[in-house]
């Protein structure tokens, strides 16, 4: 599918990409307060890539950068998990420590603060990075593969 769609669709895609990415980032970094988290925000960001592919066709070379982004996300996630190794793996050593994301909340129904949760928001960001890059890479490779099959069929 490497031809462009019409002018209206292209313009709407250009306008909608930034709000979609911002909405995904909102879902990721508010993952400990509102419904959402790394997986959901990553999927929403990947769908902005889907929108660009559908509007403009699969041109350009982005495979290496997306792949390295995914590896970076996974590596940082594992590193963050093993930082609490003195107690257990995945120990939340930052919670109510006063450092970054170290605020505390009370028991019961409360509106919450962004500055709480310890390592959970950081892990959300890492997993969001990994999932967004991975799903974008899947879409990208399948679009490329479908195009190359198409060309071969036309020629043969």
């Amino acid at each position: 599918m490497n031809w462009k769609m019409s002018r209206v669709v292209r313009t709407v895609a250009d306008v909608m990409v930034v709000p979609i990415i911002i909405f995904g980032v909102y879902l990721i970094i508010h993952g400990h307060l509102t419904p959402g988290g790394g997986f959901q925000g990553g999927a929403v960001i990947a769908s902005s890539t889907a929108l660009l592919i559908i509007a403009y066709g699969s041109f350009g070379k982005h495979k290496d950068s997306l792949s390295s982004l995914e590896s970076t996300g996974l590596t940082l996630f594992i590193l963050l998990a093993f930082l609490g190794i003195g107690y257990t793996v995945f120990y939340n050593f930052l919670a109510s420590g006063g450092a970054v994301f170290g605020g505390s909340v009370h028991y019961g129904i409360n509106p919450g603060r962004l500055d709480s949760g310890g390592t959970v928001p950081l892990m959300n960001i890492m997993v969001g990075l990994e999932v967004a890059a991975a799903l974008s890479l899947i879409l990208w490779m399948m679009a490329k593969g479908s195009d190359s099959m198409d060309v071969e069929e036309v020629k043969g």
């Binding site: 993952g31 400990h32 307060l33 509102t34 419904p35 988290g37 495979k63 792949s67 995914e70 590896s71 996974l74 996630f77 594992i78 998990a81 793996v89 995945f90 939340n92 919670a95 109510s96 605020g103 505390s104 909340v105 009370h106 028991y107 019961g108 409360n110 919450g112 709480s116 949760g117 310890g118 390592t119 959970v120 892990m123 959300n124 997993v127 990994e130 999932v131 991975a134 890479l137 899947i138 490779m141 399948m142 490329k144 593969g145 190359s148 099959m149 060309v151 071969e152 020629k155």
Partner: protein, 99 residues
């Protein structure tokens, strides 16, 4: 022959599915909820006291059951590696055909 065996297996599995599903507990009234109540309401080790996190699902995903999430991320990584490997091979063989 194979189709008749498959039909028999399908009918048996279907009967067991419907039978088993109709013998489950009533919808909306679970019986053993100690673990979930521990995650939800415990004032010393629950999600709000231990992690300072309001969204209990996120707390379970990234703290209590964090190894599951690690395995999930690894599965996603290997699936992406598989897709990239398979579809890159398409392009290379196409070059061999046309070049």
């Amino acid at each position: 022959m194979r189709r008749s065996v498959a039909a028999l297996a399908f009918i048996i599995i279907f009967a067991f599915l419907i039978l088993g599903m109709s013998q489950l507990r009533p919808f909306g009234e679970p019986e053993n909820t100690e673990m979930d109540d521990y995650f939800l309401y415990d004032r010393d080790e629950g999600s709000q006291a231990h992690n300072q996190v309001n969204n209990v699902v996120t707390a379970i995903l990234f703290d209590y059951r964090g190894l599951d999430t690690l395995g999930e991320a690894t599965v996603l990584f290997s699936a992406v590696s598989g897709v990239v490997a398979v579809l890159r091979k398409v392009k290379r063989s196409q070059k061999e055909v046309h070049g």
